[in-house]
Subunit: 149 residues, 2 copies
């Protein structure tokens, strides 16, 4: 194997000590470029010839999410899917339930709305989760029906 020089991504500083495994996990996570599950990432790492323990993958992703560098959703099966978030920005996605394609949406109206609710309600520390799911044009055969959960 060629001696791959590891960079030291600044993200790692956010989540503790710098290690080989974290470098590799982070790199693969970024490369994934979309929502990935811990298990899938673990499998990918093994396939790439840089195996890392499943626990370590979980720990790394969980910490990244905690540090605000990863978005987190749950698929319908209850599995957690992570998505790398380069900056501190906050956004929402429309995700295809068939192929996983994720598509950022303009969420300014939501942010304003949520901020307004927070103000009016008297609740403290108001957070929101907004998920949009659907079937993308490539996957959906036909007519566009819009339903509400």
């Amino acid at each position: 194997m060629a001696p791959t020089r590891q960079r030291t991504p600044t993200e790692i500083a956010l989540i503790g000590r710098h290690t080989q495994q974290r470098s590799v996990v982070l790199a693969a996570f970024i490369r994934a470029d979309g929502f990935v599950g811990a298990q899938a990432l673990h499998a990918q790492l093994a396939a790439d010839g840089t195996p890392v323990g499943l626990s370590t993958v979980y720990r790394t992703l969980t910490r990244l999410a905690g540090a605000g560098r990863a978005d987190l959703v749950r698929d319908t099966g209850g599995e957690r899917l992570f998505r790398y978030r380069p900056g501190p920005d906050h956004r929402h996605y429309l995700i295809c339930t068939e192929c996983g394609l994720s598509h950022p949406v303009d969420s300014a109206p939501i942010e304003d709305w949520a901020d307004g609710i927070a103000q009016d309600s008297g609740f403290a520390n108001v957070r929101h989760t907004v998920e949009l799911t659907g079937v993308c044009p490539d996957c959906g055969g036909g007519q566009a029906a819009t339903e509400r959960q």
Copy 2:
């Protein structure tokens, strides 16, 4: 025990055959008046002296959700929480993370926004999940900080 005549809630017709267990589960579910997990409902039923199998509780709640008579969210631990929905209406709540108090919010702006996204994106069958959580005035001691997930 007094012979409790069972009504036949119309909801049950939506999800199949009418049984004692379904009556009892549905009654407890409605009485719960807020988000409940299947396990909690199962425990409640046992405490009420009308034990029902856990599988049956799961089946009943799942079917109600399928029939559109229950809202469904996941708590941070991955557990599914159900909430009885009397009519076909659709709404969103601001839920206190401390005491569980849920507070309906005006979601018209969200609905419009989501509908707009659905239109523009070309995605079919677009659904949305919107959850607001915070600490209600009774539970929160002090100043109101608003964070974004």
